[in-house]
Every structure is written in C-alpha cells, then in structure tokens.
C-alpha cells in the first residue's frame, strides 16, 4: 500500500512499538552496540507477542473499529468480484437517485439475483458523493423498487449491509425517512423470493434493517449489527460518547452475539486483524456462503418461503410470563 496505513485506536500500542523497532533497525550497523542489538531483539519479541495477543479475542469495540476500517472491502468490491453481468438500476422514480444505496441485477455462480447494498466510498471524494453510506429516503425507495422487481420476476435478493445508519438530516426527515424504511420492511417481509443478507461491515440500526433481514443472515466475524451506535448509546446512558467501548459491550452487537441470539445463521471468519488484511479471501468466502444459501433456498416454494420468513421473525424476542395462547 502506498498510502499511509490507517491505524485503529486499539492498534496504537502495537504500532508505536513497531515504529520504535523500525527506527532502531535503521541505525547504522557500525553504530550498533551489543546493548542496542539486544534491545532490538527484545522489542521484536514484544512486537510479536503483542501482535499475537492483540488480534486474539477482540472485544466488541475493537470489532466495531475493524468493521469501520476504511480499507475494509465494501459492497462495490463484493458486487464487482462475485457478480457477473451486473446492471445497476438507478432511482426511486419519484425524487432522486441515492448513491449511498446500490441496487441492481447480477449473476452469482450462475444464479440471477437482485443485489442491494449500502455504499461507502473508497476515499473522501467518493464518500461525500455516497454520503458516507448513510442513505436518504430515496435510497430506501430505490431499494424497495428493486425488491418489487425481484418479487415480480422471481429473482432472489442478495443484500450487503454496511452503514452507520440512515442519514439523520433535515431533508431526509422531511422526505419521510421513517416512512421509507417502514415500507422496505413491509415489502421485504412478504417478498416471494429468497432473501439472503450479508453483514459485511457496519449494521447501523433501521438504516441497515431496511435491507437487512430475510431468510438467511450471514455475518462476517468482525461485522456488527446494532439497534443503536455504541457512541449514541453511551451518550444516552452516561452522557459521554467516550464510553462507547463500554456501550458496545452492552449491546450484543457482534457477529458472535447475533449467532448466540439465533439471529445470524452463519459467521464467516476473517484474517487476523480484519477483512482488510486479505480482502480477496474474505470476498471469496462470502461468495461461497451466499451461493450456498441461494442453493439451499432455491427449491423452496414462494409461499413457504414467506411463511417461514414470518415465522422466523415471530420467534425473535425474549418474553416472560407469556400467555399460553395468542391474545386470549
């Protein structure tokens, strides 16, 4: 990589040691005293030790940081690598085309599908155009239009989640952010085709959920999916955004948490340090998982798909003192 390496907060102690080591190793061989050489050896061993421990048993907050890593593979990377004959479909037919939302047709492992996904940019310029992956109502309405197309023509839906959340802007509110999300939820709920969702990065609240539930939920190991951002949760609980790490721990937002809560069907491991360390490998694993899910769902009749999706949703929730029969 030619550009400067992006350092996540929790990596800083390691990176500082690495830089110190690099500096010591730049010392001219002639000036190298035995003491210095020993120090270098010690430091190198420490770096190795820290490297090994740091990325083992990452906490929720560390995973959130990895999920947000700017070099993490994005929806576009998955679309480009996994799908052939991609035709992007633009616009909501009412107001605009939201570049924070991808909608299109594509073929994965021979299966034709409608593809949806939140779109973050690769650099600041693209991020501004894509509003950092934060969708406006017209983006959700575009997604809904693509869902309807999928339903009409019997195409399964593959959806990639990677957003901090729906955009909390003035115009987004005025154009009915909540309405647009709710309509996506209703449409997804009885779409008569398989819906496979992949959490590839951030899964921020309603903005993720709008294209974020279906018949299978596949999560990357370090992707998160949460009812609220850890920062905002920390503000509400402690009036202190700095306590986001603690909040992240409370929210059960990691892929492993989702599997434990029976929400995720599959968790795909990432390379040590995160998906950005080896995007090709991760993308391939996602391709295999999506292909498998589509294969498994392909033969289910539409009405059973919809009935099972509803049953799946109906099971979600933790209720005690439950009455034996519904509503009586």
């Amino acid at each position: 990589m030619s550009k400067r390496r992006f350092v996540m907060e929790f990596e800083r102690p390691l990176v500082e040691l690495e830089e110190k080591l690099l500096e010591l190793r730049r010392i001219d061989a002639a000036a190298l005293t035995p003491e210095l050489a020993m120090e270098i050896d010690t430091l190198a061993a420490e770096v190795d030790r820290l490297h090994a421990s740091l990325y083992r048993d990452l906490g929720p907050w560390e995973k959130v940081q990895i999920a947000r890593h700017p070099d993490r593979p994005k929806t576009q990377d998955y679309v480009d690598a996994l799908f052939e004959d991609v035709i992007e479909l633009h616009g909501d037919r009412a107001f605009g085309d939201d570049e924070a939302m991808f909608a299109g047709l594509g073929t994965i492992a021979g299966r034709k599908a409608v593809v949806l996904g939140h779109r973050k940019g690769k650099d600041i310029k693209e991020n501004i155009r894509r509003n950092f992956g934060q969708v406006h109502p017209e983006g959700f309405r575009k997604a809904r239009r693509a869902m309807a197309l999928a339903g009409r023509f019997g195409l399964p839906v593959v959806s990639f989640l990677d957003t901090a959340g729906a955009f909390p802007g003035i115009e987004a509110e005025e154009r009915g952010q909540a309405w647009a999300i709710a309509e996506c939820l209703a449409t997804l709920s009885d779409l008569p085709v398989p819906v496979v969702v992949v959490g590839i990065g951030e899964g921020g609240s309603g903005g993720a959920l709008a294209i974020g539930f279906g018949d299978r939920l596949i999560m990357l190991e370090n992707a998160y999916y949460s009812v609220i951002s850890p920062e905002m949760c920390a503000v509400i609980l402690h009036k202190d955004a700095a306590k986001a790490a603690e909040a992240a721990g409370c929210l059960s937002l990691t892929a492993a948490d989702l599997a434990r809560l029976d929400l995720a069907d599959e968790v795909l491991p990432e390379p040590v340090g995160g998906a950005h360390r080896d995007p090709a490998q991760v993308i391939e694993a996602v391709g295999v998982a999506v292909g498998g899910a589509l294969d498994a769902l392909a033969t289910t009749p539409a009405d059973r798909l919809v009935a099972e999706r509803y049953a799946r949703l109906r099971r979600i929730g933790h209720v005690v003192g439950e009455s034996g029969t519904t509503g009586t």
């Binding site: 509110e173 009885d190 905002m232 809560l261 509803y310 929730g317 509503g327």
Partner: protein, 291 residues
C-alpha cells in the same frame, strides 16, 4: 399487571369506559399544571373535561395508555390482551442501572406491565383491536414485549377480521434489548403487512412524540395515518439531526402540521374530534374490506 388489575389498583384513576362519573386524568383534584405551550396555569379538573387539551391554547397534553383507551373505546368494550407479557433481560444489560431495574421501576410508576396496552374493543360500534403506547414506560420504547404485543394485535385482527388502530408514542427501539429490539421493527411491519394483504383496515394515530424504530415500522404503515396537533414525529430526534448536520432546524420541523405539508400524514386531528374521525374512517374502510 393486566390492565384490569391496574384499574382496580388505582381507584383515583378511572375512565369513561369504566365509570363515566369519575375524573379522567391522573392528576389529583385541586392540582394545577403549567401548560408548556401557552404557560397558562391550568386546573387539572379542567383537563379532565377536555381529555387533556389545554382550554387556553389547545395544547395536547400527553395521555397515559389507560386514559387514551378511555377516550377512544366504546364504553365497557375494551378487553385487554396479553397483559401478562413481561420483559426479560436477554442481554443481561447493565449500564448506568440494570435493565431489570428500569423495567421494575417503570412497572411500578406507570402501573402498566409494558409500554403498550392492546386489546379488543369496539369504536363507534366497529370491532377493532386497539393498541395504545404509554410514554411513561421507558419512553414507550419498543423491546420484545411491545413487538410481540403489536404482532399479536395484528394477528388477532386478521383472525377475527377486525380493524387495527394504533395510537403511537415512542422514543424508538429499546436499546437494552439490543438487536432483539431492532428486529421487532421487522416483526411488527411484517404483521401489519399481513393485515394489509387481507385488505383489513389499519389506522394510525401519531401522538406526541413518536420517533425511531416505531415510526420506521408499524407506525407509518397505516392505510390512513393521522396525527395529534403539535405531535413531534420523526426517525432521528431533533437534537441528533442538529448535531449531525450542524444546521439549525426549520420552524415546525417534525411537527404533525409540517408532516402534513410534507405529504407524510393524512390529517392532523384534534383530540376532541379523534373518536368521531376514527369512527367515520372505520365506516369507510370496512365497507368493502370484508369482501
């Protein structure tokens, strides 16, 4: 606590549907309240007669769920459902205080088992399932129990061919149940969609204030969406929008009145006309719905 017990437990809080002669609001006789809108000091006894509308400026005070049920359901018609459903603590959520404590406190202070009350009723003679949220219960946030009760409300209506009326107020999804809360959005929207597919009517009344995961799920999926005057309704709260955009908010931002202008709400209906309007709407929407 089932709402019936709640009614029994609080002799000083009774509703037209149970005892028309009793006072309607939670405020004890002789207490004065300051209207947040016109700053007038209002006699609580007067608010009882107006169903919580300021006699000076028309400001709509928030109603508790039982109060709201009293203003809408036909006399003696309300039969609560699922009153025994109670929140668990699936994430063992403990931050400032344990979630279990928050729930216990809310139950104690509100006298309700959860943030929504649902039940069969008739409204202007029409058979409905009525759901009413209560902001006093952890900001009427939607966790597993709210989601479950909403879903069951739609399912009962579907099975018995009733209309559904939801009076919403909520701070959003309940963060203490994490992703389980978020998924209640999908669950309730799915239940509403099934009602819609059966062409049974669903009417929403957005009350002050309705935000987040509730607005972005079942609360905006009504065939007709009404709002109370001055109700604040949105996805992201005004403070968050201000912070995120560094812009000052336009006048009337997220008020019911501006939502009508922006095409999101069918009509703003003053509380005094709400029952009548809902009755008329049910008359229109059940006509062919049964065929």
């Amino acid at each position: 606590m089932p709402i019936s017990e709640w009614f029994k437990a609080r002799e000083d809080r009774r509703y037209t549907s149970l005892d028309p002669s009793a006072p309607k609001t939670d405020v004890p006789d002789g207490v004065w309240e300051k209207c947040p809108s016109c700053k007038h000091i209002v006699y609580a006894g007067d608010l009882e007669h107006t169903d919580g509308v300021c006699p000076h400026c028309g400001h709509h005070f928030e109603l508790t769920a039982p109060e709201r049920v009293g203003t809408l359901a036909d006399e003696d018609s309300f039969a609560e459902m699922d009153a025994d459903l109670i929140s668990g603590d699936p994430l063992s959520f403990t931050a400032a205080k344990p979630y279990t404590v928050s729930v216990a406190t809310a139950r104690e202070s509100s006298g309700l088992s959860e943030a929504i009350v649902t039940g069969r009723a008739t409204l202007g003679g029409h058979p409905v399932v009525l759901g009413v949220m209560d902001f006093r219960f952890i900001g009427a946030s939607m966790g597993s129990v709210v989601g479950e009760k909403v879903a069951r409300a739609f399912e009962v209506a579907l099975a018995e061919r009733r209309a559904v009326i939801m009076v919403t107020a909520s701070g959003g999804a309940r963060m203490q149940e994490g992703m389980l809360s978020l998924m209640q959005m999908a669950k309730t929207a799915a239940a509403a969609e099934r009602l819609a597919s059966a062409a049974l009517p669903y009417i929403v009344v957005l009350a002050n204030n309705t935000y987040g995961g509730v607005t972005a799920s079942f609360a905006t999926l009504g065939d007709v969406v009404l709002a109370e005057p001055g109700a604040m309704v949105g996805f992201a709260g005004p403070r968050l929008v201000e912070q995120a955009t560094k812009l000052s908010l336009p006048k009337g931002f997220q008020t019911a009145e501006s939502l009508v202008e922006h095409g999101m709400v069918d009509a703003v209906v003053p509380r005094a006309e709400l029952r009548e309007t809902l009755t008329a709407l049910l008359g229109y929407l059940t006509l062919g719905g049964a065929s």
